[in-house]
């Protein structure tokens, strides 16, 4: 049930009227359609935030729409504070690995969001373009919820990539594309297929490159597998790689299917060296 269906229309309009008067500083009796739409969405966004928290309330609790709005607004402000805290924790250990879109998003984009985010009059706006793609689909999220989820994804990626070491990640990215700095692709999605090669061949990470024999073994063992079977193998390998952190595991499992497809296609077309499994034999 949408917010408009859930609450009485006149209650919602009452809130929007108050917000509009506040927005204009009581200096204007009228606003543009666009502004009215924005302020209505602001009210609905806060009420939605409250609805999501409602499960925490004891059953049978009745509150007015005004109280629901106020609680929702406070939840929005609280989530904005959580974004700031997470960002402050992330920044000292943040590595872009040379990828420019990730660098710009985190070093410039998030601070701009923290400065300009308007929890009162436009909480539904993300502000951030989120150019650097993450493995989680965030399209259904808006406003500070989207930014919080996005930053959380970046945090999980950073935790995972830091375990591999800076050189390993950069070498993998370079093997994928020599000019990877300008790519707008997810680092884990690039690194994961190669990393899985080590896991599936039970090869230690410090042995940085693969032999033609390695490619043959990989292809013989997994090349003929049904895609769904290979996906399960890959998921299991991802879980083994990330058993030290359940959140990182759940995040990377979202990239497992893509990684399996890339490996499958590479095995089929005899191009395993292109999924960052560089061959050390000429």
């Amino acid at each position: 049930m949408s917010i408009v269906e859930f609450y009485q229309r006149e209650e919602l309009v009452g809130l929007v009227v108050e917000l509009t008067e506040r927005y204009s500083g009581f200096d204007s009796t009228s606003v543009t359609y666009e502004r009215a739409q924005q302020l209505m969405e602001a009210v609905c966004y806060c009420l939605q935030m409250h609805q999501q928290l409602e499960s925490d309330l004891p059953t049978g609790t009745n509150i007015t729409v005004r109280e629901a709005y106020q609680r929702g607004y406070e939840a929005v402000c609280n989530q904005a504070r959580q974004v700031r805290l997470l960002y402050e924790q992330l920044l000292p250990r943040f590595q872009s690995y040379g990828m420019l879109c990730l660098q710009d998003t985190i070093v410039k984009g998030i601070p701009a969001f923290l400065v300009h985010y308007d929890a009162r009059y436009c909480p539904q706006d993300r502000l951030l373009t989120m150019d650097y793609p993450v493995l989680t689909d965030l399209r259904s999220l808006r406003g500070v919820q989207a930014v919080w989820a996005y930053l959380r994804c970046i945090d999980l990626e950073q935790r995972f990539l830091s375990k591999l070491g800076y050189d390993f990640v950069c070498d993998s990215l370079w093997a994928y594309h020599s000019n990877y700095a300008v790519l707008i692709e997810n680092i884990c999605a690039i690194v994961l297929p190669g990393l899985l090669g080590y896991v599936l061949l039970e090869k230690p990470l410090h042995q940085r490159c693969f032999t033609k024999q390695d490619y043959r073994v990989l292809t013989n063992r997994y090349g003929a597998m049904e895609q769904s079977q290979l996906i399960e193998v890959v998921r299991s390998a991802v879980s083994r790689l990330t058993r030290w952190d359940g959140d990182v595991e759940q995040y990377l499992l979202q990239g497992a299917e893509d990684a399996a497809v890339r490996l499958s296609v590479a095995m089929e077309t005899n191009t395993l060296q292109t999924v960052c499994l560089p061959c050390c034999e000429k």
């Binding site: 229309r9 509009t20 009796t29 009228s30 009215a36």
Partner: protein, 185 residues
């Protein structure tokens, strides 16, 4: 059933709002009567109907409170408004007001805009609404869009003199010259 109830509730609300606005407009007669100006119920209905049309045309929303009573109070003392042209003038002023709120990108308050309009209407425009709309307000709107915010200090008073591009006669100087030329006393 619920949709029907909702529609009923909505039309009741709209009717209540329309009555409230018509009452507010009618009450203005208590002030304007001193200037020989009154609005009949039919006039109020016409003004409010036009308000709806203009708001839709300008893609604006007025929640509850209407600007019409403020326009009435601002212009009722004008020497260029009489009972014959009262309603037509109010209709035009309302249209001009909402148009220029958009043109000025909402960077000006209602009071500042009305003050500016009233000053120019009574002075430079000599009651000419076309001149008010096409010249004074156009120049002012350009200045506002370019970043001018002087009206915030002056509440819209004496602003046009700063922006006017036409060299105008000073009234006292005009009368003096007229006296000298014609020997008129």
């Amino acid at each position: 059933m619920k949709k029907g109830m909702d529609a009923g509730r909505e039309s009741w609300l709209q009717a209540a709002l329309a009555r409230q606005q018509a009452d507010a407009l009618s009450h203005c007669n208590e002030i304007t009567a001193a200037y020989g100006l009154t609005l009949s119920q039919a006039d109020c209905a016409l003004l409010l109907a036009e308000r709806q049309r203009v708001l839709k045309q300008e893609r604006r929303v007025e929640w509850g409170r209407s600007i019409l009573p403020e326009i009435v109070k601002k212009f009722c003392a004008s020497p260029y408004v009489n009972q014959n042209n009262y309603v037509d003038t109010l209709l035009r002023l309302q249209e001009i007001f909402f148009c220029y709120k958009n043109e000025m990108l909402d960077e000006i308050s209602d009071e500042e805009l009305l003050q500016f309009m009233q000053e120019q209407f009574d002075s430079v425009c000599f009651g000419d609404l076309d001149y008010l709309e096409g010249t004074c307000l156009e120049i002012f709107a350009q200045a506002i869009r370019a970043g001018y915010r002087g009206q915030q200090r002056t509440a819209g008073r004496d602003e046009f003199a700063r922006l006017d591009i036409v060299t105008r006669w000073d009234r006292q100087l005009y009368l003096q010259v007229l006296q000298e030329l014609t020997g008129w006393r």
